[in-house]
């Protein structure tokens, strides 16, 4: 009993230190992940616009972002109100829409330099990684990545905020407005129309 009492503070200290190491690990690994993938993105955006760049971007997007989670989160409170057929059509439309939209919106950073500034944990399995993207014209932007850690030890991004403006939050507000007016089918039609418009403009 005496020994147990003596050991208790030691065990508590080990547990605290172990958790601290685990915490530090999440944000550090998330930083490395964002650094690698951010560097790849800058290289892809430097390619001339066209089918080759879009293919590279599509692969990069699928590796870097959890697109299934993005699709679900973008539906907000309407997630669960769609039928299985509607969900399948929505996920398909979303996957194609997100490639053309994110490519066009991130194209602003073509020719920019990318660097990770700092990171910190957010909740149990997430980390926020802050980066700075600086352009040749002297303009620079603070871009935050919300990165999620999965059970197999891999990371994926579930949101990006440029100067405090979250892409996921904006998309969720936008999608909700369309669903409220035209229903989920209306959203699927709108997504397909926008994708077709963007693809025809870039070809």
């Amino acid at each position: 009993m005496q020994i147990s009492r003596l050991r208790l503070p030691f065990v508590a200290l080990v547990v605290v230190l172990a958790s601290a190491v685990a915490w530090a690990g999440i944000e550090d690994d998330a930083s490395v992940f964002v650094d690698e993938h951010g560097g790849e993105l800058i290289e892809i955006l430097d390619l001339p616009q066209g089918t080759e760049r879009r293919d590279h971007f599509q692969t990069w997007l699928a590796d870097t972002f959890n697109l299934d989670a993005l699709a679900n989160l973008a539906l907000g409170p309407y997630l669960g109100t769609a039928t299985d057929e509607q969900m399948a059509a929505y996920e398909d439309a979303f996957a194609r829409y997100i490639v053309v939209t994110y490519e066009a919106r991130l194209d602003t950073f073509s020719g920019y330099d990318f660097s990770v500034m700092r990171s910190r944990p957010m909740g149990d399995n997430d980390a926020i990684v802050r980066t700075n993207i600086a352009g040749p014209d002297g303009n620079s932007y603070v871009v935050d990545f919300r990165v999620e850690l999965y059970e197999d030890g891999s990371f994926q991004v579930i949101d990006v905020a440029v100067e405090g403006l979250s892409m996921l939050k904006t998309q969720r507000d936008e999608f909700s407005a369309v669903i409220q007016r035209d229903g989920i089918d209306g959203l699927i039609t709108s997504l397909n129309e926008r994708t077709a418009l963007a693809e025809s403009a870039s070809n």
Binding site: Y78, L168, K169, R194
Partner: protein
């Protein structure tokens, strides 16, 4: 000397009367618009729970009217401001455009100084005062950026933000004719900013309009490509602008409250509540 002071005083009084008249007309216009919105075009609350949640979160009871004003604003942008902004961006070299931007930013500085003080942010009050003094004198009215004079630019501040720091909620979303997205709180703030800006009384109406017009062209030329991309790819551009306006305002308020800066990343950016 007395005559000069008297004539200056008459000029100021005339300017003040003119601005009060303009503000009173704007207020009447705003009140009429608000009445029309309340009577004829209030958004109906949906019956389903998801719809009700969204309805409460977007806080846009005058949505039909706001969407109409938004469309009119976009038409004016397309017909008048965008073409001028394109000519301005393509015809005026970047260093000159930077000079115009610096000059306009410097004109905004008195409002920033007043509101930083009202928010109790003495560091920003001092930085903005120093920036205004140096840019106005050595920088010839702010046209030239004085290199190495500041570690970083002072944070811009306005009365809507001050009200937020004092604990006033933003209230319903409002789309103002020509001005753009706002909220009930920020619309009151805008009115107070016009009335407390010393330049409102120092500039003749023609110069005030010139300042506003140049500011609109400059701001449009700065963000033209991003805005047109967002417009092209959005499934509901009005809802995107409403969301971005709110997020941007929340970020500015977090910065004013000192809860978000380069060294601290707030969870609120990613909160989906």
């Amino acid at each position: 000397m007395a005559e000069i002071v008297a004539s200056q005083s008459v000029k100021w009084n005339n300017a003040l009367i003119l601005h009060v008249k303009i503000m009173s007309r704007l207020a009447r216009c705003g009140a009429s618009l608000l009445l029309v919105a309340l009577v004829s075009a209030c958004a109906t609350a949906p019956q389903d729970s998801a719809g009700q949640e969204i309805h409460a979160a977007k806080n846009d009871p005058f949505e039909p009217t706001n969407r109409y004003v938004f469309d009119v604003n976009l038409a004016i942008m397309d017909m008048a401001i965008n073409p001028i902004a394109t000519i301005y961006r393509e015809g005026v070299p970047e260093p000159y455009r930077n000079g115009v931007r610096n000059f306009l930013d410097n004109l905004q500085m008195p409002v920033t100084i007043i509101n930083s003080a009202l928010q109790g942010d003495w560091d920003n009050t001092a930085e903005a005062s120093m920036s205004f003094f140096i840019n106005t004198t050595a920088g010839l009215g702010g046209i030239f950026d004085i290199p190495g004079s500041f570690d970083e630019e002072p944070r811009k501040a306005d009365f809507g933000e001050t009200l937020a720091v004092w604990g006033v909620n933003d209230g319903p979303y409002v789309m103002l004719p020509l001005v753009g997205p706002s909220s009930a709180r920020d619309t009151v703030g805008l009115g107070v900013d016009i009335l407390t800006d010393p330049l409102t009384y120092l500039l003749s109406p023609i110069w005030s309009y010139a300042r506003t017009g140049t500011g609109a062209v400059q701001a449009t030329s700065d963000s033209q490509s991003q805005v047109s991309e967002l417009r092209r790819s959005s499934v509901d551009f009005y809802a995107s602008v409403r969301s971005l306006y709110r997020q941007n305002r929340e970020a500015e308020i977090r910065a004013a409250e000192g809860s978000e800066d380069d060294d601290f990343m707030s969870d609120d950016v990613f909160s989906l509540e």
